[in-house]
């Protein structure tokens, strides 16, 4: 990836009832935000296992966002 506009890869674990719903609501109101987030939907942040976070970094995520 070229140096000057470095585009980070962000992995997201979003809880279906809270953050995922907030993301849907953001879509409905057409808020714009940077497109670097790749979302994995989980039923609750409780489901996010520490090994998922480490594996995310192993697989090359520059940042991991967990939203409950």
């Amino acid at each position: 990836m070229s140096k000057e506009e470095y585009n980070p890869k962000v992995l997201g674990f979003l809880c279906n009832w809270c953050c995922y719903a907030a993301a849907d609501a953001a879509g409905v109101s057409r808020y714009q935000y940077p497109p670097n987030l790749r979302t994995i939907r989980v039923m609750c942040t409780g489901r996010v296992d520490p090994s998922f976070v480490l594996r995310g970094f192993v697989e090359g995520a520059d940042g991991i966002f967990t939203g409950g």
């Binding site: 995922y20 993301a23 790749r38 994995i40 039923m43 609750c44 296992d49 594996r55 697989e59």
Partner: protein, 946 residues
């Protein structure tokens, strides 16, 4: 519409007219005639060949005459039933006995001109009238030169212009010369609040849809200049004011003015208008949209005569405030716009309520003649992974930002994907048929759909999978609309890459999906209603009418709630006391509730002081009707308020006017609207204060005709038929003076004398006076919903009202299954809407009780007994106590899930030291493969690059 189309218990009779309706409640006979479609439904494959060959041209009514179609056509591809039809008014053969080109063209020989009108007699127990509303006659639009200049369009025509299946495939163009309109004007109150065409009522919906259309038009063309000309902005519904504010922030201008006329002016349109300060001015516009109101349906009188019920003076169905869904003939109910102009959420609420009452009337026949839907048994899985990927355009919602064909092809060459395609609307009925065909044709055993949010559409697709013989869990949905195209609208490249990544991650997860068995749990057929006001009592009585017992708990020591003094409330209280199925607990409060839909168990405390005792109630559903109470702000519009005999709220004034005292009507009174509402203290509109204020003003004038009544308002929101009250008040000399938030009226009390000063836009001068009384129209706040929302784990909005599952499609249900809401706890509303919503809530609540069982979502946790070391961590961490320890064959403790209580949150799985626990649909394997697919992007790119 899709569900109605495929439900075996709904027989859709199209092209059908009612001839006669006779009989009594529970036993009606209806004669109907079905005009022929000239195409038989079973053969027609909706291929569209006949339309291309048909020589005759005809105006396309579905597109409001904005484009041309052929006599043999279908309104829109997603229509239900998805069969073509021939319009007898214009078909050459049917009018002149010539041409039959379409007959040989049709491959499946579906066209049959010999079809004749068929008459049928239906034997039914009840009737629900929902014929909708009619169109405003065109001559009332003439003064805006509608029909004389093509760029003056009605709001329905504008909807068609915005729609991707519209005349210009979603592009807003002037009909005169196809250019993009830059300056657009909306004119409100066209054909309503207009005594000229005897539509004195307000159509209640035009302000809101005008704002929506303006915002969507702004989306299509961000630098369009849009202005809305209005008399009063009536956005009184829940969250409507917030939407109006957002529209203003987006640059849509609102001008309070009366539009005189619209004249063609070169290739533009000249709109002349006059504002309150008496200035006349005109502006040029490329397009003018008339926000037309809702007329009563054209065949209203015919229906009324046939069925024997009465209409009101505006030819809508006549109903009583305390029985909003019943017509004057028993057994016939009304729902939707035929009852009066209303918006979609209100119509949906009324139709659920009408269904509930009808089911109460004929509950003895419930279940007879019902076809129980059976699903083909599930196909054997086989170990070969065969995935089908369907990428959706969703009209222009996705297609205009994400390069859908590119994403679809990208999915094509992924391991395990044997079929990939795109579709315009994958949620429409015809797309569901295509999905079923492809599953059979390519023997797919996993389906990935890239479209909108699984939260809204997953159940729809899972139902189609079950119809195609696939276990409903073999399905993964990718959100490339709400969380991609809508939020990265001006970065199409990045949005397409994101869609590709998300599809790749979903396919990786799909490879590991296993079928999950569906568990069902029996339902406890008893209800619990919280709150004994008008809403709660109506809901409890309606549940009893449908044959289900319920307990009604009320915090106070008597039933009645806010409207205790109304005669109707007293009648309800007697009925509740006499009804054996309703057990009442007064001085009762809910302490704790556990369980889930069909199997709730609650502890309530009831009785006062010595008699206070604790009762455990088991029930299947909960209806919340806790209501609201008057909000008495300390400061209103910046003035600190000391309530006294002289400064009262509208409800206190109403009580005073009900009294007997000679001097009860003041000689001079100033009423101040929105005191403490709409951003002043509460930031929402409480919907009923305008109507109450105008009623009080009329009452004052009635008792003391020469009293001086002045009302200071921001928008008078007497929507619907209440507009007549406003009209009446104006004629009786009540002065209505608008104020703006940047020039608020000042209210003060010095030495027992009141002084009110405000700016009068008509006099263009400051006015101050000393009225005898001041009445503040204050809003209402929900009855402390916080405790209940924590107890039942249901969300509340920012304004502390309960947040319903879906504003339009599930207005009385809460996101937690089995919990329903009605009345003021949902949002402020007048009494007839409270009663309608209560009837709807009890109808919806009765559904799980009628069904008798509840299917438990199969995504619960399951524990692998060999790997489990019995460390009991999961049992202690589970917030729902859904894991218990059991002994395995050689007597070692192993964990096991209580499937019925498990809420699939996954805390056990992420804390299990030996990875022994996995969640259905979210197994460790699936999530790990999804994470690996997230990282794979570099590999794929390198291979392509190399």
């Amino acid at each position: 519409m899709v569900e109605a189309g495929r439900s075996p218990n709904i027989e859709i009779l199209t092209n059908a007219d009612l001839l006669s309706l006779k009989g009594q409640p529970g036993n009606f006979k209806a004669d109907i005639v079905q005009r022929p479609r000239y195409i038989n439904a079973d053969d027609c494959t909706a291929c569209g060949l006949c339309t291309t060959y048909c020589p005759r041209h005809q105006v396309d009514d579905y597109n409001e005459g904005l484009n041309i179609t052929r006599p043999i056509h279908i309104d829109y591809p997603q229509a239900v039933p998805a069969t073509y039809y021939i319009d007898p008014r214009s078909c050459l053969h049917l009018t002149h006995e010539t041409c039959q080109i379409c007959v040989p063209v049709c491959q499946s020989k579906a066209i049959d001109f010999s079809q004749k009108p068929e008459e049928r007699t239906l034997e039914i127990g009840a009737v629900i009238m929902s014929p909708g509303f009619g169109r405003i006659p065109e001559d009332t639009l003439a003064k805006y030169s509608f029909g004389k200049h093509p760029d003056v369009v009605t709001s329905i025509e504008f909807e068609r212009l915005l729609n991707p299946s519209g005349p210009f495939t979603g592009e807003v163009r002037c009909l005169s010369d196809n250019r993009h309109p830059h300056k657009i004007a909306f004119i409100q109150c066209v054909g309503s609040r207009d005594i000229g065409c005897d539509n004195g009522y307000c159509s209640s919906v035009c302000c809101m849809y005008a704002i929506k259309e303006a915002v969507v038009a702004k989306e299509h063309d961000p630098d369009a200049e849009i202005t809305i000309y209005y008399m009063d902005i009536r956005t009184q519904g829940k969250e409507f004011d917030a939407a109006q504010k957002r529209a203003e922030d987006k640059g849509i201008k609102f001008v309070r003015a009366k539009v005189a006329d619209v004249m063609p002016w070169g290739d533009h349109l000249r709109l002349t208008y006059s504002t309150l300060d008496g200035t006349h001015s005109f502006k040029a516009y490329d397009m003018v949209v008339l926000s037309v109101g809702l007329e009563s349906p054209p065949d209203a009188q015919k229906l009324a005569d046939m069925a024997g019920f009465k209409l009101n003076k505006y030819d809508f169905c006549n109903t009583d405030t305390f029985a909003p869904l019943a017509t004057s003939k028993e057994g016939i109910y009304v729902a939707g716009a035929f009852n009066g102009p209303m918006d979609i959420p209100e119509s949906v609420t009324q139709s659920s309520g009408a269904a509930g009452i009808a089911s109460g009337l004929i509950k003895k026949q419930r279940g007879r003649g019902i076809i129980h839907k059976s699903y083909p048994d599930e196909k054997e899985m086989g170990d070969e992974v065969r995935i089908g990927v369907f990428v959706c355009h969703c009209g222009i919602n996705i297609g205009s930002v994400v390069d859908v064909p590119d994403v679809s092809n990208y999915a094509g060459d992924m391991e395990g994907v044997v079929y990939y395609t795109e579709s315009l609307y994958s949620c429409s009925q015809d797309a569901q048929e295509v999905l079923k065909e492809k599953i059979k044709e390519h023997d797919l055993n996993r389906v990935v759909i890239a479209a909108c949010s699984p939260r809204t559409h997953e159940p729809l697709f899972q139902e189609t999978l079950k119809d195609a013989g696939l276990n409903r869990s073999l399905f993964e949905m990718v959100n490339i609309r709400d969380q991609c195209s809508w939020v990265h609208a001006n970065e199409p490249g990045a949005a397409t890459d994101k869609s590709k990544d998300l599809v790749r991650m979903a396919v990786a997860k799909a490879r590991h999906i296993q079928p999950l068995p569906e568990q069902t749990v029996p339902v406890n057929k008893i209800g619990l209603v919280i709150g004994g006001g008008i809403g709660g009592m109506t809901a409890a009585l309606n549940l009893a009418d449908q044959g289900f017992s319920c307990s009604l708990i009320e915090k106070q020591d008597t039933l009645g709630g806010n409207f205790k003094k109304l005669s109707h409330t007293q009648k309800l209280i007697d009925q509740v006391k006499k009804n054996k199925l309703v057990s009442v607990y007064t001085n009762a409060e809910l302490q704790q509730t556990s369980g889930f839909v069909g199997n709730f168990s609650s502890i309530i405390t009831t009785g006062k002081g010595a008699k206070a005792k604790e009762v455990t109630l088991d029930h299947g559903i909960i209806i919340i009707a806790t209501g609201a109470r008057e909000h008495r702000p300390e400061t209103a519009l910046g003035n600190s308020i000391k309530y006294s005999k002289k400064i009262v709220t509208q409800s206190e004034l109403a009580e005073q006017l009900e009294g007997k005292g000679k001097k009860r009507a003041p000689d001079s009174i100033v009423m101040v609207q929105c005191a403490g509402s709409r951003g002043d203290d509460l930031n929402y509109c409480s919907k009923t204060c305008c109507i109450t204020a105008v009623q009080n003003a009329l009452r004052v004038k009635e008792i003391n005709p020469d009293s001086q009544v002045i009302m200071l308002y921001r928008d008078i929101r007497t929507y619907g038929y209440a507009e007549d009250l406003y009209q009446d008040a104006r004629q009786k000399g009540v002065l209505f003076i608008p104020y703006e938030m940047d020039n608020k009226p000042a209210i003060a009390e010095k030495g027992g004398k009141l002084s009110v000063s405000f700016f009068d836009p008509i006099l263009q001068d400051d006015v101050s006076m000393n009225p005898q009384m001041v009445a503040l129209s204050v809003g209402m706040v929900p009855e402390e919903t916080d405790t209940l929302s924590k107890l039942l784990k249901v969300p509340v909005t920012a304004d502390k009202f309960f947040l319903e599952a879906h504003v339009k499609l599930r207005p009385v249900e809460l996101p937690v299954d089995g919990v329903y809401v009605c009345g003021l706890a949902h949002s402020p509303k007048p009494i007839n809407e409270i009663i309608a919503q209560a009837q709807a809530a009890s109808a919806k609540a009765a559904m799980p009780l009628v069904k008798g069982y509840v299917t438990v979502d199969p995504i619960v946790s399951n524990i692998d007994k060999e790997i489990c070391i019995g460390c009991k961590l999961c049992t202690s961490l589970c917030p729902y106590q859904a894991i218990q320890m059991v002994k395995d064959e050689n007597n070692r403790p192993k964990a096991e899930t209580i499937v019925a209580s498990c809420k699939a949150c996954g805390i056990c799985a992420s804390h299990c030291p030996t990875f022994a626990i996995s969640m259905g649909g979210f197994t460790n394997e699936q999530l790990n493969s999804q994470i690996e697919a997230f990282g794979k992007e570099i590999l794929v790119k390198e291979t392509e690059a190399a």
